[in-house]
């Protein structure tokens, strides 16, 4: 099951014992069933707010010599790529995080100007998009100025061995509104958290702040992370940045605002959470690169929970390099989240996101090639799709082959479809309902238009819940013993199986649906993403595939046009965008 013969410098997924991950997931499901460690903070209905987490240290180890060298190599390559890509000539808000990082490091861009550019776009356009719940303008400007001052001081003093800027120094960040922000409202778009002011930052935010991220706001989301962004009572809020005139075109759920914020260049980076597709679907819907890490890779302390065993936070970014920068910072153990402990060390994601140049011997000299020998599994029906969609998919696969990837046909093993069907997926519902029972008892109307699935979670009996958990482990075994015996990464038609079993997923754009090609009558282009999964701790592998494709294509560089600015005086409030009913929300429930 493990790849013991893999070279020591290969990606981590080839070196770890996958059986250990299977054991771990078994323990996780048992933990959920036993109710231990959850909720991580006392979120009691009508009770006191969570207490301060004093005494819970968040590890922030200095860069090891090897990691520092990797960062230096990353920035050297980034300087070369930014120069070739014309980053010096583009407005700050249009830059990727790594391009902005290059310019902040060479002194041609100040963090304060970058943040101001994002805030200006939010002021101008968010009344159309409704991507933000809260904009932290004053804090963002003050933080950016302080980061500029710190960098100026370091440059003036040029101390030998002085501290290098953090990987995300001065980069604007938006967080889904279920991530704790000390003293800043964290609503999860739900009635019960309407006035919740967390007393501390989530661990992932502490890490991002420590690397220099500048929080510019909290983003709209599906109520309690269950569907596309809506008010608790079902009114549509956030729009897809590619279709701001058509609320029927989903921005993807439930991290809708995080994706729209990045796609509309109102922010450079964002964080989403995924229990049922909520990073990869919004990212794919809006032409972005979204990465759901392996269960436990990123701490969930300070994230309003949906389920103990399926919640995953991760980056929603413009490209693979940005996702690598973010994941490098966000990943790591957290003593306050047992899911993050006892894992293999965080590897070097930065290097994974840099394709290697071809040598000219059997490949194109200087052309981007895959970093590690990689077999990409593809279900036959995915590659065999008809029409323009099938052509896009086959172009993608052909390009990957030219980049040195071995494309292999991998049909789903027998049992895969049943074990990842809605029947077994329903096993997540009791995990969702149990910690919210105090609010369900208090007043079911607090759940607004999402109530159906919370009630369903109370109707599954213990034996059925256990059956569903056994089904998940069986599905994980099928993935490890069958799928990943034939390939190192696998294209997926949908996110459900990998969400269920805690394995990593990445999405990135491979083309656009054009007018008349679906999209509910919308006549503009809509991004189309590919979804690729990997074995446990396969994030490097996924980043290497995304980076290879992005080095050989330009779909990730396309940006949606700005909408017409709203009439002056228009308020940032939903209305006139339509409403989803109980049944529609239940169908979309994640």
């Amino acid at each position: 099951m493990a790849s013991e013969a893999a070279p020591p410098d290969g990606p981590q997924d080839a070196r770890v014992d996958r059986r250990a991950f299977l054991h771990r997931m078994g323990a996780l499901t048992a933990a959920a069933a036993a109710g231990v460690h959850w909720p991580p903070e006392p979120l009691s209905a009508g009770g006191p707010l969570p207490s301060s987490p004093a005494g819970v240290p968040v590890p922030d180890p200095p860069l090891s010599p090897g990691r520092a060298a990797a960062a230096e190599a990353f920035w050297a390559d980034a300087r070369r790529a930014a120069s070739a890509g014309g980053a010096l000539a583009r407005p700050p808000g249009e830059l990727t995080a790594w391009e902005a990082g290059v310019r902040i490091r060479d002194g041609s861009l100040r963090a304060a100007d970058l943040v101001a550019a994002c805030l200006e776009r939010i002021r101008k356009l968010d009344a159309v998009y409704l991507a933000f719940n809260t904009v932290t303008e004053a804090e963002a400007l003050a933080t950016a100025a302080a980061l500029d001052d710190a960098l100026d001081r370091d440059r003036r003093e040029s101390l030998p061995g002085g501290k290098a800027p953090g990987l995300l120094h001065g980069i604007p960040l938006a967080l889904k509104d279920n991530v704790y922000t000390a003293g800043i409202r964290t609503t999860a778009n739900a009635h019960m958290f309407r006035d919740f002011l967390p007393p501390f930052d989530a661990t992932l935010l502490t890490r991002l702040r420590g690397a220099g991220s500048v929080l510019v706001g909290k983003t709209q989301m599906g109520p309690l992370a269950t569907t596309r962004a809506l008010t608790p009572d079902g009114e549509i809020t956030t729009l897809n940045a590619w279709a701001p005139g058509d609320p029927r075109i989903s921005p993807g759920g439930s991290s809708s605002g995080s994706a729209t914020g990045v796609a509309a260049r109102m922010v450079t980076t964002s964080v989403g959470t995924q229990t049922g597709g909520s990073i990869t679907v919004p990212a794919a819907s809006q032409g972005l690169t979204g990465l759901k890490p392996t269960m436990g890779r990123v701490s969930l302390r300070g994230v309003i929970p949906l389920t103990y065993t399926r919640d995953h936070p991760g980056p929603i970014a413009r490209d693979a390099r940005d996702a690598a920068l973010m994941l490098q910072v966000m990943a790591g153990p957290d003593p306050a989240d047992p899911r993050t402990l006892g894992l293999p060390p965080v590897p070097d994601y930065l290097t994974a996101a840099i394709p290697v140049p071809g040598s000219g011997q059997g490949d194109g000299a200087g052309e981007a090639m895959i970093r590690w020998p990689t077999r990409l599994g593809v279900p036959p029906e995915w590659a065999g799709a008809g029409g323009p969609q099938g052509e896009r998919r086959r172009r993608f696969l052909a390009s990957m082959e030219e980049g040195g990837v071995e494309v292999v046909e991998v049909p789903p093993p027998p049992g895969w479809a049943e074990l990842s069907s809605g029947i077994f997926n329903a096993g997540r519902l009791p995990e969702r309902s149990e910690p919210f029972l105090p609010w369900l008892r208090e007043d079911v109307r607090l759940f607004g238009v999402t109530l159906s699935s919370w009630i369903q979670g109370l109707l599954l009996s213990g034996d059925e819940y256990v059956k569903a958990q056994r089904g998940r482990l069986a599905l994980l075994r099928l993935a490890l013993d069958h799928v990943f015996q034939q390939c190192d990464a696998v294209v997926q038609a949908n996110h459900v199986p990998f969400d269920m079993i805690g394995l990593p997923l990445v999405t990135f754009p491979i083309g656009f649906r054009e007018a008349g090609e679906g999209g509910g009558g919308f006549d503009g282009p809509l991004p189309e993403g590919v979804l690729v999964g990997a074995p446990p701790f396969g994030e490097e592998r996924l980043l290497s595939l995304a980076a290879l494709w992005q080095a050989r294509s330009d779909h990730h560089l396309r940006r949606p046009p700005d909408p017409a600015a709203p009439d002056s005086g228009r308020t940032r409030a939903p209305g006139g965008r339509g409403r989803l009913g109980l049944e529609q929300v239940a169908d979309l429930s994640q």
Partner: protein, 93 residues
């Protein structure tokens, strides 16, 4: 056994929820403009009980996917030695 009627399922749902202290009577009876009402919530619950629950209960998992001793249960969070080298495991120092 006869097929359960809507009334029987509704009574089951209401009883189950009352046992654990969840009260659906605060919802309007039938109001399509409300975010949720009793008609739609009970309809959704009946569909779940007629579809998902019996299908999950009846599903027979392949015993080959559960060899009795190959994958013994572990205690959370993990046994570090299960990974390739103890020194490689990150305990959050």
């Amino acid at each position: 056994m006869h097929e359960l009627t809507d009334e029987e399922l509704d009574r089951y749902v209401e009883t189950r929820l009352r046992i654990i202290g969840v009260d659906l009577s605060v919802l309007p009876e039938d109001d399509p403009d409300a975010p949720a009402d009793r008609v739609r919530i009970f309809g959704s619950a009946r569909g779940f009980l007629r579809g998902t629950v019996p299908a999950l209960s009846a599903y027979e998992l392949d015993p080959q996917l559960f060899p009795p001793m190959s994958y013994p249960a572990m205690l959370a969070p993990a046994i570090p030695s299960a990974f390739p080298a103890v020194g490689e495991v990150d305990h959050g120092e």
